[in-house]
């Protein structure tokens, strides 16, 4: 029925089957939308956040999706700036995933703020000293860049491409994509870093506080670094999942291997830096504030397992990805990708939720929190939205340049 829209030379499942799948996910999406509307109309009392937990699940989700969406800027950087041309075969998907992640982040932010109608004050009354201002500016700009990078893909849809204007526009945009990608990488470097800075500058919160370079705490660099390392892993993981679901090979192994190898080395160096940072923080920064790090992990819930899990998953992923054998073994490769994703998500969790949980005043108590269903629903909402957007894009747009070649249709 919709065959006119489907790219030439590739096979897609029948429309009814597709529609059923989409509706199932759509139901979840609607649940999320309902929760979102509740939050907007009734206010943030719909959440389980409180005055001790001003930042909670949503901010974690924000930080996590932005880190995972980091595959877009880093792959773009590698392709357009460094010149790893093979990556053109996965850049579309990286951009798409990035687009999903960043649009989700913006949506979550729009739900998270107490006065959404005043959200634009962050631009209008910008306080340039705030890490969050930097995040907001770079995030919105980079989202613009991602849109610019995603648009040509839409224009390449068989029907849209027939319109000469779009065809030309798409062509022109491709011509100067390197400029956009470079700008995007520049913006991403800052906002990924600023997100790290968000926690690192909290000098009133010894668990989060880090020393650093000039105005930038070490978390600034660690966040950029980890996003550059784990973002591509997420891109690869989603690619592998897409291949598993569509039962097709979509990207050639050499492309995957190249990106994985680079991500692996990024992750490896990140882990070295992260461990160094942790040691310095534990041995120097924290005692200066009068704490022993043991106190930060003294809760029944927040204990050393969190630190162990974060460092462990990162180390496992790094070691697998830097070794050829590790990358080439299907099982260990997927384990590595999952570990990398968990590693970065744990890191973002700890840097948001554990920061809030640790008591600072000597007579204060641990603050634990569990999200309300509205928070969970609105956090799942972007996942559902992502699945739908990716499915539609995959179905109608030529996302994978090598798909045709790898799956010749009889």
């Amino acid at each position: 029925m919709d065959s006119a829209l489907i790219p030439k030379g590739v096979k897609r499942c029948p429309l009814p089957k597709f529609a059923i799948g989409i509706s199932a996910v759509g139901a979840v999406l609607l649940w999320g939308v309902f929760a979102m509307l509740l939050c907007w109309f009734k206010g943030l009392n719909q959440t389980n956040m409180n005055d001790y937990y001003g930042f909670a699940l949503w901010i974690w989700a924000d930080l996590a999706v932005i880190a995972l969406g980091g595959g877009a800027f880093f792959t773009g950087f590698l392709k357009y700036v460094v010149g790893k041309d093979e990556l053109k075969n996965i850049i579309n998907y990286a951009v798409l995933i990035g687009f999903v992640c960043y649009s989700s982040a913006l949506l979550i932010l729009a739900i998270d703020i107490g006065q959404p109608l005043r959200g634009w004050f962050i631009f209008w009354h910008a306080n340039v000293h705030s890490m969050l201002t930097e995040v907001a500016f770079c995030l919105s700009c980079y989202f613009g860049v991602l849109t610019i990078e995603y648009l040509p893909l839409i224009f390449e849809n068989r029907q849209v491409d027939k319109v000469p204007f779009f065809h030309n526009l798409s062509h022109n945009m491709h011509e100067i994509m390197a400029v956009f990608a470079a700008t995007g990488a520049f913006l991403s470097f800052f906002h990924q870093g600023s997100l790290g800075g968000v926690a690192g500058v909290l000098f009133g919160r010894p668990f989060a506080e880090r020393s650093g370079l000039f105005i930038w705490p070490w978390t600034f660099f660690l966040f950029t670094w980890s996003a550059a390392a784990c973002g591509p892993c997420f891109t690869l993981l989603i690619t592998k999942m897409t291949e598993a679901i569509t039962k097709k090979k979509l990207v050639k192994d050499n492309v995957v291997d190249l990106l994985a190898k680079i991500a692996g080395w990024m992750l490896f160096t990140y882990m070295v830096a992260k461990i160094a940072d942790t040691v310095y923080w534990a041995m120097v920064t924290t005692p200066e504030n009068g704490f022993a790090i043991g106190e930060f992990y003294s809760n029944w819930f927040y204990n050393y397992w969190w630190l162990a899990a974060e460092l462990g998953t990162g180390a496992v992923a790094a070691i697998i990805l830097v070794t050829r054998a590790g990358r080439h073994n299907k099982f260990s490769f997927v384990i590595a990708l999952i570990s990398a994703v968990i590693c970065v998500c744990l890191n973002r969790w700890v840097m948001v939720l554990q920061v809030m949980a640790v008591p600072v005043m000597s007579f204060d108590t641990w603050a634990l929190y569990y999200p309300s269903w509205q928070e969970v629903a609105t956090t799942i909402l972007p996942v559902a939205y992502g699945i739908i957007l990716i499915s539609i894009s995959y179905r109608y747009l030529p996302i994978f340049p090598q798909e045709h070649e790898l799956n010749s249709v009889e």
């Binding site: 209008w124 009354h125 860049v145 022109n172």
Partner: protein, 54 residues
Amino acid sequence: MFPIISFEWVWDMSHIVFMGGLWYALSVIGMGMTWCIIKAVVDTCQGNAAGHHH
């Protein structure tokens, strides 16, 4: 956000660096897109179908 009309604006280094970076990035993106669109309009009007870019 804007010099002069925004009353939070102060002429100090951090504002100039931050907003400078921001406006620089915005200009690059803006000018890039403007170029693409104008060229696309011109190309379309001239009837030149651009070649396939792959």
